[in-house]
């Protein structure tokens, strides 16, 4: 897996990108670099601008201001048909008047590739996506997953530098979706293409990506590897969007030289890691993942702890979920792996909950990281 | 016998031995709505009348008072050519038309061949008498045969050459229109039966009309192509040609209803009438009651009204044609009396009124259908 750092120039480079539709500001201050061979996901809620950003890369929209370079060349004047980019559309956009084979061969035919060569490449690609036995079907005869594979093949067969995927799994059932995610990773490794993936589903993003670009209301909130973004979110938005989290609200005070403390209703928490660069007198929260908390004894040096009462327990096979209310009135959740034979507290128990200091993040209450 | 040309009154009207008469006064297509009222002296009037007539000949205005006094409403369908009338009767189940006009040329076709005319009870029409009507119209074979009255003569007139006196000299013959200076400046009316007699006369076969052999028919139309070459358009109705005359694109109309003159004068263009040596084309229209009529009494009352001298004068003035009623002449204006010398009416009609080419093939002569086809070919440039 490519870790996203490369000594060469990035394949796609957006600088100071702005996009306006009339009075509506769709994208603000976009600075993004994507390297060759990566899988980068543009992640965000519906309407955040991720699709617009992707269409700008594809050439179906243009930046209101800023530059877009692909392979070092400014492509502002390049129409979509001339960019070394291919797209997999959300609803596949397969051509109904052509069968699977001709759909996949379309791009090659347009470029003037010879018939024999065309046939060879199309067959190879159909094998890759495992659709070779269905090459004579028309799209009315294909299932959703099959259509998706054809769309993928149609785009990839042209050997693009960049493959854009616009929420390609949105229309599929859960099981098929999971299967296709695996397929796509496999295909990316096989072909070595650069994938720019757009989705609102954080699971897809975490499973698939080398790096995640989190977007909210047209601005880039954070760009990081999935695990980094998960464990070290730098904004409240990021913390809440990726996975589940508990938020302890409080106010920051200066507790010593270079020391901050978060005053909550459960007492002060000394701020250890300050990724979000919060400062004194801000209203802030401490974000802790439910699985980072446990009912063990706490170590004052290494852990934070609260006392709480268990409101509810949900047994879910491999895990149990606990709903608790702290003495200070804060509601939160704890997730525990079920080990055979382990004794777990029940509803009504008063427990001591602790978590490692470095597993928590203190975040300001504003949405965007500075 | 030929009639000597008169210099005044009837202009230089000249009649050849057989002058064809055709009703023209082109009208538009379509159905009209207005109801006509008929007040007979005796017959029970009332109800509704369905009438087929040339536009302006249905007496909408002239009989307005009579209609309201008698509770009669009338619906008129305008016809654009006489053929529109028989078209209604071709395939069984004709509509209940109470009154229709027919041009005298069609009398045999309607009365004897198609048998769509029902006899008129003249006892119900007191205005039909020898005192009121000119002699040439009273009990004559065209309208009175086998002891029965089939048609009631109503209006007559003639079509002739019309020309713009600013743009050209008064022509002496229709052939004057072949002058090269008039190329593209004349108009021909798309009225088949209105042109046919003239087409025959222009090749000297006027006396034979309507019985020409197929060969003669071909020759006549071949000659007529010369006129088409001179034509700017073959106009489908009066309003149409009036526009072209008014815009001065057309300097002369080959043979048309002089009532166009009033339309054009109103726009300040000096359109005049000329009676060339080949003669005008005379026509007489009569009312008849079709076999499908349902309001027969009111129809009779209507016809009676149509022969009232004052009504006659009004209609004749309105459509710029001539009345069949002697007594109507005194009610005509000076212009109308200047146009036609009514004292000479017997002479005008002396050569009789010819018909239309035979409908059935007698083996020798061109049939009505042959003429229609020739006319269609003429229009299509063949």
């Amino acid at each position: 897996m490519n870790n996203g750092t490369s000594a060469e120039a990035p394949l796609i480079e957006l600088s100071n990108g702005q996009k306006q539709f009339g009075l509506f500001q769709a994208l603000t201050n976009i600075n993004l670099a994507i390297n060759e061979g990566e899988i980068v996901t543009l992640l965000g809620p519906s309407g955040c601008g991720k699709t617009t950003l992707m269409r700008i890369i594809a050439g179906f929209e243009t930046l209101t201001s800023g530059t877009l370079k692909i392979d070092g060349k400014d492509v502002a004047s390049l129409p979509p048909e001339k960019r070394p980019v291919n797209m997999v559309f959300q609803r596949y956009a397969l051509f109904p008047h052509l069968d699977v084979f001709d759909n996949v061969a379309y791009g090659l035919k347009v470029k003037g590739v010879e018939k024999e060569e065309r046939r060879r490449r199309v067959q190879a690609m159909l094998r890759t996506v495992q659709m070779e036995s269905l090459s004579h079907r028309f799209i009315g005869e294909l299932s959703g997953g099959q259509c998706q594979r054809v769309a993928l093949a149609r785009a990839l067969v042209n050997g693009p530098r960049v493959l854009l995927l616009d929420e390609p799994l949105a229309a599929l059932d859960l099981k098929i979706r999971q299967h296709m995610l695996g397929e796509m990773k496999r295909i990316q490794l096989e072909t070595g293409a650069t994938f720019v993936y757009v989705t609102h589903d954080q699971d897809e993003a975490m499973i698939l990506s080398d790096r995640v670009v989190l977007i909210d209301h047209g601005q880039i909130v954070q760009v990081d590897r999935p695990q980094d973004m998960y464990f070290r979110p730098r904004s409240l938005f990021a913390a809440k969007f990726l996975g589940e989290t508990n938020l302890f609200e409080g106010k920051l005070t200066v507790s010593g030289i270079g020391q901050l403390s978060l005053e909550t209703q459960d007492g002060p928490f000394e701020v250890v890691s300050n990724d979000a660069a919060v400062s004194g007198n801000d209203a802030a929260v401490m974000s802790v993942r439910p699985e980072a908390m446990s009912f063990r004894q706490s170590n004052a040096q290494l852990d934070y702890a609260v006392d709480a009462e268990i409101a509810d327990v949900i047994f879910s096979g491999s895990r149990s979920f606990f709903h608790l209310v702290s003495l200070g009135g804060q509601k939160f959740r704890v997730q525990v792996q079920n080990m055979p034979g382990a004794a777990l507290p029940v509803a009504g128990d008063k427990v001591h909950v602790s978590w490692r200091k470095d597993s928590a993040t203190v975040l300001p209450l504003s949405r965007i990281s500075s | 016998m030929a009639i000597e040309p008169k210099t005044s009154m009837l202009e230089t009207i000249q009649l050849t031995r057989r002058t064809a008469l055709l009703g023209l006064a082109g009208a538009g297509l379509g159905v009209s709505t207005g109801r006509l009222f008929v007040t007979p002296a005796r017959a029970a009037a009332g109800g509704s009348l369905q009438i087929m007539a040339w536009e302006g000949y249905d007496m909408t205005n002239e009989l307005r008072d009579w209609r309201s006094a008698n509770g009669v409403t009338a619906e008129t369908s305008s016809i654009a050519s006489q053929d529109d009338v028989q078209a209604k009767f071709i395939a069984g189940n004709p509509p209940p038309i109470d009154l229709a006009e027919y041009n005298q040329a069609y009398s045999k076709l309607y009365i004897k061949d198609m048998k769509i005319v029902s006899p008129i009870d003249m006892s119900k029409i007191p205005n039909y008498n020898a005192d009121n009507l000119f002699d040439v119209f009273f009990d004559k074979p065209t309208w009175f045969s086998d002891g029965k009255h089939w048609g009631s003569p109503y209006i007559w007139g003639f079509n002739t050459l019309l020309y713009n006196s600013d743009m050209m000299k008064k022509p002496k013959s229709y052939k004057d229109l072949l002058d090269p200076s008039l190329k593209g400046k004349i108009a021909i009316m798309d009225d088949a039966t209105g042109n046919w007699p003239l087409i025959a006369r222009l090749v000297g076969l006027g006396d034979n009309y309507p019985l020409l052999t197929r060969e003669e028919l071909g020759k006549a139309f071949e000659n007529f192509v010369l006129y088409r070459n001179q034509a700017r358009l073959i106009s489908i109705n009066q309003g149409d040609v009036a526009n072209f005359v008014a815009s001065k694109e057309v300097a002369a109309v080959l043979v048309a209803d002089p009532s166009i003159i009033t339309q054009v004068h109103a726009q300040g263009v000096p359109l005049e009438m000329a009676i060339p040596e080949e003669g005008p084309v005379l026509w007489v229209d009569a009312w008849f009651i079709p076999v499908s009529a349902d309001n027969i009494d009111t129809a009779h009352a209507f016809i009676n009204q149509s022969l009232d001298p004052q009504i006659q004068a009004k209609v004749a003035t309105a459509v710029v044609q001539a009345p069949v009623s002697k007594k109507a002449v005194e009610f005509l204006g000076a212009d109308a009396r200047a146009r036609i010398d009514y004292s000479k009416i017997d002479e005008i009609f002396a050569s009789g009124l010819p018909g239309i080419p035979p409908v059935d093939d007698d083996g020798e002569h061109a049939t009505y259908a042959d003429w229609v086809q020739a006319w269609q070919e003429f229009k299509a440039g063949l």
Binding site: S143, K175, M180 | F89, I90, M114, S247
Partner: protein, 293 residues
């Protein structure tokens, strides 16, 4: 019969009955008339091919039918070519209600009014001549604009254009804009996308627009009568005359059905041409999909 089939049948019944009573049956009647003969303004039942043969042999009929076909093809082609960019714009570029309504509004003016309008425009003193004189392209007004096949074609194009645009927009609406983007993504220009993707998928609708315009134009007789002059006469008037002037309904019916045949032939030719140039794809029967990953 399933409940939904029954409901469908009931809903379709009124329209189907109407079509049957007022179109199919009269058409069959007319067809049977075409084998009768006419004599003296009466029609007589018979079973002969005289009418068809005499129509085919008549130079007049051939000439006016030729005119009808040429004018029909030219008008339909021009109309389609003009409708496609407008339809494309309305479907994919800007769904402008204003333009759409403007197009519809032109339809509200009466048919005859338009004919008279074109008469004035193309006449000796008309706008066209005035412009040409002004620009010095001609010295004297051109008389040949009016009363010619050209006048007929331009008038009928004007009359049927809104109709064709509506049909083209309707056909193109079925083709999602995404397909054009996909085609461009794969390397064609926007124009290329039209020919390779939109046209084949909208082919039925486009051909429908073409053929309907052709049929309406080829059968029209009011316009040729009023602006066609001698060189622009078409079959329609001939057929009308058979019904009105000569009372020869059988001949008129035969001529009408010959025109019908002509339209069928043209349709077949258009389809063949479309298939040949690849604008119309060869379709296969498709089987419904099964849910499979």
């Amino acid at each position: 019969m399933t409940p939904s089939q029954r409901t469908g049948g009931i809903l379709a019944a009124p329209a189907a009955t109407y079509m049957l009573l007022f179109f199919v049956v009269p058409a069959i009647l007319l067809f049977s008339y075409s084998f009768w003969i006419s004599s003296g303004f009466r029609i007589v039942p018979d079973f002969v091919l005289t009418n068809y043969i005499s129509a085919i042999r008549s130079p007049l009929f051939l000439r006016v039918t030729y005119n009808a076909i040429v004018i029909g093809l030219v008008t339909a082609s021009v109309t389609l070519c003009l409708s496609i960019p407008v339809g494309y714009y309305l479907t994919y570029v800007a769904r402008s209600k204003i333009i759409f309504y403007l197009i519809l509004v032109t339809w509200f003016s009466s048919y005859l009014v338009r004919i008279y309008a074109w008469r004035t425009l193309l006449g000796t003193n008309g706008l066209l001549n005035a412009v040409l004189l002004q620009l010095g392209i001609v010295d004297t007004p051109v008389q040949a604009f009016l009363f010619s096949p050209f006048a007929v074609a331009i008038t009928l194009t004007h009359i049927y254009l809104p109709f064709a645009i509506l049909m083209v927009v309707s056909a193109m609406s079925e083709i999602k804009a995404e397909l054009i983007e996909a085609s461009r993504d794969l390397g064609t220009s926007a124009l290329g996308a039209f020919f390779r993707v939109v046209a084949p998928n909208a082919a039925q609708g486009l051909i429908g627009a073409f053929m309907l315009t052709f049929i309406l134009v080829a059968g029209d007789y009011v316009t040729p009568q009023m602006v066609g002059g001698s060189s622009g006469q078409t079959t329609g008037l001939l057929i009308a005359d058979q019904f009105r002037k000569t009372g020869n309904w059988p001949l008129g019916a035969a001529q009408a059905f010959l025109m019908f045949l002509v339209s069928l032939v043209i349709y077949a030719l258009v389809l063949a041409l479309g298939r040949l140039t690849g604008l119309i794809p060869a379709r296969r029967k498709t089987k419904p999909a099964r849910e499979v990953a």
